[in-house]
């Protein structure tokens, strides 16, 4: 019932397809992040009508399954590309359709509202005192944003971002429905070719599990590293570094730093 040699044989083609999965995940995640920043800005726009419109757009994008996005994109790919090529007076041949790029767009589009929500919630989590302190130091608005607010937002957003990244990794398996040969598509192909469905799917599931665990551990590590200044006693601990002389107390007592006195 379970053919072990076929099980081990099916690992190799699936591992070979792993780069495609990773390319899909990373590029669509970056695109979704960029789109999410724009959507977050539009959703907090001072003009009420624009804000309302983009809130509806966000809810609309959130409510549509990824599979629908993929199908819509794969159906409209030819007509869109023909029009695009006609703009530059070129003739489009549908022999090499850019399916991968369209799949990346579809995945990114479906994750844009989640990214926007992540950014907005991180922005709202920053206490008002930080803005006031920046203003008190006569920072300009962009200075306050880039030196104070965004570094803190990044730390708050990392766990959420890791979650979305990992979900996107799983969602890339749907792109096999629009003829992209990533891990799932290769497994299906291999299974149909050799009539060993159970073995190929089990191997595919195990490999997905492995990649998922690696990325989850990675994001947990980044979270720990990025948020280390949030842990109690972190700033005092850093002073007693292994390869550096500990600061002498009486020196700083004799000549107090003018900045510290402030």
């Amino acid at each position: 019932m379970f053919d072990q040699s076929m099980f081990f044989q099916s690992f190799l083609p699936i591992i070979r397809a792993m780069p495609t999965t990773l390319i899909l995940t990373v590029t669509s995640c970056v695109l979704a992040l960029l789109g999410g920043i724009i959507l977050a800005l539009l959703m907090t726009c001072p003009v009420k009508i624009i804000r309302g419109i983009f809130k509806v757009v966000s809810s609309f994008l959130k409510g549509i399954p990824i599979l629908v996005f993929l199908y819509v994109f794969s159906v409209s790919i030819d007509s869109v590309m023909t029009k695009l090529y006609a703009l530059f007076n070129l003739t489009y041949s549908n022999r090499n359709t850019p399916t991968l790029q369209f799949a990346i767009l579809a995945l990114a589009l479906s994750y844009i509202p989640y990214m926007a929500d992540m950014i907005l919630s991180a922005y709202r989590a920053i206490p008002n005192g930080q803005f006031e302190a920046a203003e008190a130091f006569s920072f300009t608005k962009s200075q306050a944003m880039f030196h104070i607010i965004i570094p803190q937002m990044t730390v708050i957003a990392v766990p959420n971002f890791g979650n979305h990244f990992v979900n996107l990794l799983k969602a890339t398996s749907l792109t096999c429905m629009v003829t992209i040969m990533e891990m799932m598509g290769t497994a299906r192909n291999f299974a149909t070719m050799n009539q060993t469905f159970l073995e190929a799917y089990t191997a595919c599931a195990l490999l997905y599990w492995l990649v998922f665990e690696i990325f989850e551990r990675l994001f947990q590590f980044i979270e720990k590293k990025a948020g280390r200044y949030l842990q109690p006693g972190a700033l005092t601990r850093r002073r007693f570094h292994l390869f550096r002389k500990p600061a002498r107390m009486h020196v700083s007592q004799k000549q107090p730093n003018p900045e510290q006195a402030l």
């Binding site: 409510g63 629908v68 199908y71 159906v75 096999c176 299906r188 799917y201 997905y208 998922f212």
Partner: protein
Amino acid sequence: MIKSLKLMAQYFPALMAALPTTLMLLLISVIIALFLGLLFAWARLGKNKIANGISYIIISFMRGTPMMVQLLLVFILIPMIAYANGVDTSSFSPSIYAIISFSINEACFFAEIFRSAYVSIDNGQIEAAKSLGMGRMQIFRRVILPQGAIAALPNTSNMIIELMKNTSIASVIGVYDILGKAQQLGKNNYGLGQLELYIEAGIIFWILGLIILFISNMIEERISRCDRKGGLAHV
């Protein structure tokens, strides 16, 4: 544009005929997942190390693999097991496999939500209930469930909406839910009006999600009324 809208209106009844399938998939798997999720959460919280380990591995696997792989695995594995035991599965509807796979998958996410909701309950509440002489089931029903439900509801409703979107994956194994129906109608027409059909299916999914969100907000308001200031006065 007008032609597309006309086409959409023409296909609308046929797509709505597939709505009960989607709703049935969603409802049955959510109900099974609620019970299974409680079971997994109980196993994770309990002292039995074997049950804890098994549920940890199941939850990790279900969270770590795509729904599509799980669905296809269930679709292959269950007929094999049934065949080995002398059961003929050829007359089974594919939605059975979809329900099995969705409910196990959803149960694992629910288990994590329930576990964190249980952890968020103050231990003093349970001790107080014990000191009043309540039995274990009584404590669960009167103390843990009402407070845990408030903590778990927003996440649970989010997961239900996610599952509603993910039921569209069932079309891969030949369940005629909304997306499967849209695909079928498009192919019947030699690919004409496919785009409109998919967009229409997307809009139906969106409206379904909004309805679920509305219902969950209503339930949340109802069960968290004792959490509000002076809430106990108007119970």
